[in-house]
Structure formats: C-alpha cells, structure tokens
Amino acid sequence: MKIFQIALGILAAIGGFVDIGDLVFNVAAGATFGYQLLWVVVIGVVGIIVYSEMCGRVAAVSGKAVFDAVRERVGFKAGLAALVSAQVVNLMTLTAEIGGLAICLQLLSGLPYRLLILIAGVGLLIVVWFVAFDWIERIFGYGGLCMLVFAVAAVKLHPAWGAVGHGFVPHLDRESPVLYAYFAVGLLGAAMTPYEVYFYSSGGVEERWGPKDLGLNKVNAMIGYGLGGFLSFALMIVGGALFLGQGIEPEFLGTIALGAEVPLGQIGLLLGLVGILFAVSGAAIDTLFSGAYNLAQFLGWEWGRYRHPRGAPKFTVTWLVLLVLALGVVMTGVDPVQLTEYAVIFSAVALPLTYIPIFLVANDRTYMREYTNGRIANALGILYLVVIMVIAVTAIPLMILTNVGQN
C-alpha cells in the first residue's frame, strides 16, 4: 500500500516537473542545436535533485521551509534582497505559466485569447479555493503525464540515435559558442527553477515530515525529478528531429505541440496540448503558492495550503493578489514565450541567493543535528554552487549578446 502511494506520488511528480520554461528551452535548444545540449539537461536535473533533497531534509529535520531558513541564516537585510528577487522572478514565472495556459485553451477551443485569460484565472481560482490539495497535485500531475506523448513522438521521429548519444557527452560548439552558452544557461535555469524548491520544502513542513521521512524525501527527489528530466530529453529530441535546420523557431506553444502531431496525427496533437495544459496549470498553482509561502515565511505569518483560507488570511490574500497581478500582466498582451525566456534567465541570476543559504543551513549542526550534509551532498552541493554562480554571472550578458537567443 505504501509502495503504491509512493508510486502515485512519483507519477504526479513526473507530470509536475515540466513547466513552460522547460517546454520553451528544451524545444528551442533542440531546434537550434539538435541533440547537442542533452548533457546540460542531465546537469540541471542532477542539480535540482541535489538541492531539493537538501531543502526537503532541512524541512524534515528543522521544520523550516526555505524562506524561514534563509532569513534566520543570513539575516533580515540579505534575506530581504533574496526575497525581493525571488518574488519578482516568481511573479514573472507565474505570469508566463498563465499565459501558456491561455494559449493552450485557445489552441483547443479557438475562442479569443483575452477571454481565455479570464477563464484561466477564474478556473485556477476555483480549483485552488475549492479542491483539496492532494487532489490538485494528482489531477495536474496525472494530466501532465499526457506529455509522455512527446516521448513516443521522439521515438517515432526516428532520430539518429548515434547523434542523440553524442549529445549526452559534454562538449562545446565551435560555430556559435555564445548562443550555445545562452541555451545551456537557459536549460540549467529552467531545470533548477527555484519555485520548485520553495514549493517542495514548504510541502514537507506542511506534511509534518520528520527524520523518519528522510528516505521518502530522497526517493521523491531522485525519482520524481529524475524521471521528469526524461520528459525534457524527449522534448529536446523532438525539437531536434523535427525543427533543426528547418528555420523554424518554436516561438509558439502550438509549434511545440506540432512535435507530437507530425509523427502521431491528431491524437498526438490533442494529447500534447492537454499535457501542456495540465503541466502549465499545475506549475501556475505551484508558483502562485510559492510566492505566498515565501512572503509569509519571511515575515512570520501563518501559512499553508492545508490550512483553510480562514486559518491563514494574509497568506490567502497574498496569493489572491499575486493571481490578479499576473492576470493583469498577461492581459497586456505580453508574449508568454518571450516572458518565459526572461523569467528563466532572471531566475538563473537569483539562484545563488536561495541556494547559498540553504547550503549553509544544511551544514549547520544547530539546525540539522546528525542530519547535516554527508560527503556526497557536500561535494555535489559545492559543485553546483559553482555552476549556479557561473550561470548567475553570465546569464544576463549572454541574453544581451544573443538578443534573447534570436541570433
């Protein structure tokens, strides 16, 4: 029974891993560089596994979610800087996910875009307000599994498997190294999006994890994110097999769904769109809550998705305000795919502000007792801090040099 539950949780995690950032960057990287950047996805997925395991462990042992720990460890001032940058990036991501959701609805229904933004907003509100959270996780996680159609599509497109294999070997590109680096940074930023750890660690605290749940935490992080990464590979392979050298830039989410239509027909297109719909909706809900978690944890308010709205009023008002703000921004007609690129690049810049304090806390005996980082967690933790610093410093210059990946 327990194994059954874990399996269900993992299924939901696979469906919940991919968000609009992964969709956009994986397919665009495939369309531009074929399979050459697959190895970067591996690095990104291992990174998110390392840091979500760490955040989950901190949550389980100390009962503190990310922004509790950040503020306690680095103080009010540096913590506030981390909070502000996290909230800006989080709101951009939320806006992009909602825009993506409206586009999916438009492709499925043909109704006007702005009307669908409203429908998306009201729909999300109703779901979050009335549906119990474990059901939200299941519905959107399993719905997101429709995206496995991209894995089938990747095989059906008969990619050159030798080239795919070569893509997993780290290498550089001589012809356009700057653009290659831009995509590498974007793929890492998309895989290690910080809202995932805010949400994950807050969930651990809400579910009252203790040291006995550390095994579950490890399994969740490794298998859930690991298999989620598998979907990222599929998206890049589809992008490479279908769009490389065609001069097609997957600037529209519809183009991404086309990746499932070409080899599989109408049913492929439908499954692809429904999968994307559920994936971006689930991510919208996660980012919505992450924003409210962060603020409430930083300021010491009552918080929690399992608490009824009346049990955490300021927390509830925060996510309501974030939802309205994001809807307002989408309504201006900003292109969600473009916004996604900015959100991912800026989140790459903000990563160290979240991950450095977490690393410090995970090594602090006063918090972690005997559960501080082991050798492997520390070796990987430090390695990834270096990776994160490098991408944080290079992200914006690369964005400017490549004109947001356009040349």
């Binding site: 100390s62 009962g63 503190k64 509790d68 503020r71 306690e72 103080g75 009010f76 001032k77 913590g79 506030l80 800087a81 502000v84 307000w129 009335f130 409430a296 930083f298 300021l299 010491g300 308010w301 009552e302 918080w303 009824h308 709205p309 009346r310 955490a312 009023p313 300021k314 509830t316 008002v317 006063t366 918090y367």
Partner: protein
Amino acid sequence: MTKTIDLGLNLLDHQLLDTDGRRCGKVDDIALEGAPGGDFEVVAILCGPGVWRARAGVIGRIAAWLGGGGRVRIPFEEVADVGSHVKLRKRADELGLGRGDDRLRPYIEKIPGSDH
C-alpha cells in the same frame, strides 16, 4: 532559562509561535539592557514593520513604510522557550501580535469555501 544560545543565530529572525502554536511574527529585533563593560540582558523581543527600518537601510525603510510601521514589544518574561521556534506564554492577540490576520479573517470568512 539557563541554556546558552547565540542571540544572532538562535534568536534573531526566528519564528514566533503563540501558546496555541499559531505563527505570529518573527523576532525582528532584540532589546538589550546593561551598562557598558558589564553584562547585557535580553529584556524584550521587538517585532513589526517599524523595527525593519533600522535593519536594512533604504529597502528596510521602504519595507517598513509598506508594512505600516507598527511595532510590538514583547517582554522577555513572556518567552516560554527558545528552540527551533520561539514559543510565547500567551495568545497572539493578548500580546498584540497577529493583528493583520485577525483583521482580515472576518472578510475571508464571508467567502464560501473558506473553511473547507
């Protein structure tokens, strides 16, 4: 209380829980009393946006202004325990904490489904 704690790391910026276990703010600052050269004693915990002004320069002042600038002083006698959270002896409303949540609650309660 006789255990030794590092005020900067183990008290400042920690979560306050009231006697019912309700989250009701953070230790935004600590009031110390004592003569120069002598021992210092923690006499109170300070919290609320008004305290942020002194802690984070310009953005602290902006945050304090946005938060309304209120501050609450909790005498250290009201602290029951300093562990991973700071536990208080009274309910939040008796200490003047958690007011924002209490003020918003009646409105939230009017919305159907707010207690499910």
